[in-house]
Symmetry: C2
Subunit: 150 residues, 2 copies
Amino acid sequence: MTDALSDAAELTRAIRALIPIFEPMGLEVVEAERTSVAARLPVEPNVNHVGSVYAGSLFTVAEVLGGLFASTSLVLEGGVPLVKSLQIDFRRPASTSVVARARLTEDEIARILRDAEATGRGEFVLEAEVTDETGAVVATTRGTYQLRRL
Amino acid sequence: MTDALSDAAELTRAIRALIPIFEPMGLEVVEAERTSVAARLPVEPNVNHVGSVYAGSLFTVAEVLGGLFASTSLVLEGGVPLVKSLQIDFRRPASTSVVARARLTEDEIARILRDAEATGRGEFVLEAEVTDETGAVVATTRGTYQLRRL
């Protein structure tokens, strides 16, 4: 296993311990880099009334990305990531497993950490795309988060 | 058990069978009227990294309301409720069980059913409030749904 893969597997275990509902959903971290994170969900435990991935599970696989950055680059002693609001647009039904991915630039990371140090709240906006196994975009999200120093 | 309570319990069983992830979340229908529906979530299985109810579970307890109306008043042969987009604002952490509630007027119900019959898509906007056991609003949502005739 490469370091990157072992980091992702370790982060999967850590977030499932912190937020137990991720376990029955089968939520996995598949990328945990400083500027890019991604998470994956299988269909089966998340199936809905029309045989595609349930809206709340699509929300979750995208929402969690903001928190993952607090383990990769938005690392601050006593810092906790919190989501303040999120808009999700469902583009088409997902009938396969899905991957959500989001990116932050190094400049944005530095700015968020500076704000969190200075004021206790580093606010940031994260846009994520959720794709199915064919690469089709099934949902997009725009979330506002805070890296809070508690 | 009154009819209303037995309807809610029956609908809880039905939606958990259709969308299995509701079961580990402990999602329950607590009101299933023509113009008002409500759902409830306990804290324990939905706890997050700071000891309050996870954002994705708050999303779910509110999002599901649009679908519940398809069993109470938006009843159409071959009709399926789908969520198209949803904005959620997290107002404060929820450290108790939560209830989400939404209402539709009889005029709006008639309009949605007319549109679904005529065009195959009855679109509607639902605003929901999620409250904790003290009555404090922990989240608000605004979702756009379609009653689709498949």
